[in-house]
Structure formats: C-alpha cells, structure tokens
Symmetry: C2
Subunit: 244 residues, 2 copies
C-alpha cells in the first residue's frame, strides 16, 4: 500500500513487519520460525493508534480478535453488576490483550487506552487456523491464558495479604521488571496510569496511594515527579514489598 520501507523502527508505523518489530522477542511470535512469523504477520492488521481514553473493546462486544500492544499502555477493567469498576490489569507493549472473550465469544472486560497506543489486531479465527499448522503457536496461546490466571491469583494474594505500602512497592517492581524486559530502564520510567487507577487496581483509595508515594519518596527509596518514577534504592523497595 505504502512506499514506506518495512525496515522502519518507529513503533507507531502501520506498516511494520513482526520480524522487524522491536518487541518480537517478547510478543506473540516468541519461539516461532522465521517462516511462521511471516505467516503470522500476514494475518495481523495494524490500525490507527488509539488515543487516551479510547476503548479497544468494551465488555459485551463480540470477540473476534486478540490484540498485541505495540506502544502506549492499556488498562483492562471489569464492571460489576452494581456498576463499580475494577481495574484488573495494566498492559505494556509486547503484551497480548483480549483472550478473555474466547470462551463466551463475547468480551467480558473492557480495555481502555491510558495513553496514545499502537495496536496489532490478530483475527482469532485466522489464528486458530494457523495454530493447527504451527503447534508452538497453540502452546503459546495456552501460556497467555494461564499467565493471566497466575497474574490474577498473584493480585488476589497481594491485596488480601499485604499492606498498602507493600502493594504499591510490588506494583512499582512489576512495572520496573516489565520495562527492563522490554530493554528499557528498570530504574526510570513513567507511570501510564492515574493514582485513581492504581488505587482501584490495588484496592486502596487515591489518598492512600498518594501518601504512600510521598512516604517512599521521603524515605529515599524513590524519586517522584508527576508520573515520572525513579527508583533510587531497588533493594529497599524489594524489602518494603514483602510481608513481615
């Protein structure tokens, strides 16, 4: 379609190829052969970027695709019967979103952009076809689902067994590790979400979140300017994340 060369490394490009993507090492193509990556690439469509607050999908939407996040950040949200929102996860580039709709053919979460976000859309029926020929892709899929379960269970444990300070320290460490995993700085990154989102996710009020941040700051463990976090003492952050 475009004369733009495939070799671009701009993560917002709508014309990249999976094998060129900076995130190939952590995204869906993990452990695929080059030729399989080509086939995967063919079924992926790259739409326009989402703006902050845009929905990628809404609870109740019919399920026909899963999505890979190329840049930006996404939160997934579950709305309860009584209208409360529960943030169930924050998603960074290289992560796969949307398998939640697989069973019922309907998404039962909503996914919202926290920032301008570039997305790869992967039609699920094509992925299923491809899975038949590429067993490692099928396995990769089960991995993603059960990673979701493991993360949810880790969050249950975090919320029910840890103090406010421990929960926030754990979240910072998780974001740090995931940034590091993407080849970015482990000690210096931007929080893509609001304090309200953090509070909602961790079962705390926004006031408590704020107070804990200033406490961590005063203790010389982190530096905090607006949404920019610098981890000054990762070791101490680790210890404060652990239950006594």
């Amino acid at each position: 379609m475009s004369a733009q060369p495939f070799s671009t490394h701009c993560s917002h490009s709508q014309h990249a190829h999976c094998s060129d993507c900076r995130l190939a090492g952590i995204c869906l193509p993990i452990s695929l052969e080059i030729s399989d990556i080509d086939r995967l690439n063919e079924i992926i469509s790259r739409g326009r970027p989402l703006q902050k607050r845009d929905y990628l999908y809404r609870s109740g939407d019919p399920f026909h695709s899963v999505f890979a996040l190329r840049s930006g950040a996404i939160k997934t949200v579950k709305v309860t019967e009584d209208g409360l929102e529960q943030v169930t996860g924050f998603h960074l580039p290289g992560e796969i979103i949307g398998i939640d709709g697989l069973a019922t053919n309907t998404h039962n979460n909503s996914a919202v952009a926290l920032d301008t976000s570039a997305i790869c859309e992967i039609p699920f029926h094509r992925l299923e076809e491809l899975s038949v020929r590429v067993p490692s892709l099928q396995r990769r899929f089960f991995q993603i689902m059960s990673k979701e379960i493991a993360e949810d269970q880790a969050l249950i444990t975090l919320i029910s067994k840890n103090s406010a300070e421990e929960r926030i320290a754990a979240l910072l460490l998780s974001l740090s590790a995931r940034n590091h995993n993407r080849g970015l700085s482990a000690d210096n990154f931007t929080l893509p979400m609001s304090r309200a989102d953090i509070g909602n996710y961790l079962g705390l009020t926004i006031e408590t979140v704020s107070r804990i941040f200033t406490r961590l700051h005063k203790n010389g463990i982190i530096l905090l300017d607006k949404k920019q976090v610098t981890i000054l003492d990762a070791a101490r952050l680790k210890t404060t994340s652990q239950a006594p």
Copy 2:
C-alpha cells in the same frame, strides 16, 4: 474388572459411567452427544477416594491430567515465594480442577481434599486427541479456563471493594447457588472448609469470620450449627452481600 453393574448411582463407586453420573448435567460432558460421552468415559479413570487433607496434586507436580470432582470438596492453594498460603478456590462436585498446569506442564497450585472426595481423572493427552474429533469438547475446555479467570477477577473485586460482612455473605450465596445447581438444597448445606480457610480465601482473619457469622446469626439471616448452615432469609443475605 468388576461384576458390579454400571447402573449404580453411588457417587463413590469406582465403576460408574459418565452417562449414569448424577453430575452429567454440570460436569465436563455438558452438551456432548451420547456417543461422545461414551468415548470420554473410556479415557476417564476413577481412583480410590481421597481422604481429608490428602493432596490431589501439589504445586510443582508434572501436569498430565485434569480432574472432575464427583463427591466431597477440594480447595486449591497457591503458595507464595515467602511461604504464605493463599486459598484461591473451593471446588464442589461437578467442577473441573487442574487446568492450571496446562501452560507450563507443571501445576502451579496445590489441590487439597477438604473432606473425603471421589475424583475422576482425565489424562490430558487423551483429552486433546478426543478434542480434535469433538469440537464441542475443545470449546468446553476454553470455557473452563476462562471461567477460572472470571472467578479470580470476581474474587479480586470482592476483596478489594467489599466489607467483611459483604464478602462472607457473597461466599454463602455462591455456595448456596452451586448446591442448588447440583440439585441440592439452596438453603441448607454444610461448609466443607474451616473458618481459617474462609478467612484466607476472603482476606480476613479467622476472628473476623467468626464474628460475622455470629452477627448474621443474631440478625436472623442464617442459622449456624458448627459447619451446618441454614439460610433463613436469602433476600436479606443478598442485600448484605452488596456494597452500599
């Protein structure tokens, strides 16, 4: 092997057939054709019952089967790095346990009998083979996995947004509904788990669990004798389970 006829309805029998099982309507065979149930039945093995406190599998065990609970009750437990236990679910007859090991080929939860429990073991590689010929079985499997995700997310919401009283009321209603679904009384049942298990599951201390039970009792909402629960006022239990 045995001369015992297949028509037995005793749930502890090691010689039942899926199509005879009282739980056929809610267990794995849901929506299968008779002939498919036969094929499913052939790959299921029914071992001796587990005794209270016996492990069905332990975290770290190699994954080769999923299990259907025929009678009794099972809790699933996740052990964190720092050695704390988190109860992640209670499982009643007709429910499927053990898919958590699918991705890594290793169970990352443990499953413990809360009571004498009869189990059907379903070797996963045989199930996969059968799935190829029986698409509805494959779909059923995805359903089970994503039901697990939905339940975990519901628990996250419950713990992070609801008071102690609301959490316990919600648990009682869940147990009630699941009993009813099995054709048993919705208003009168036995708690298979200890107060400590309930507290662990809901993120509460055992003292709080006990106090809430006596409060619900004093308010005339439930009757409680040891582990025997009678729901006197289901409507009021429902309202106390909801956030204000």
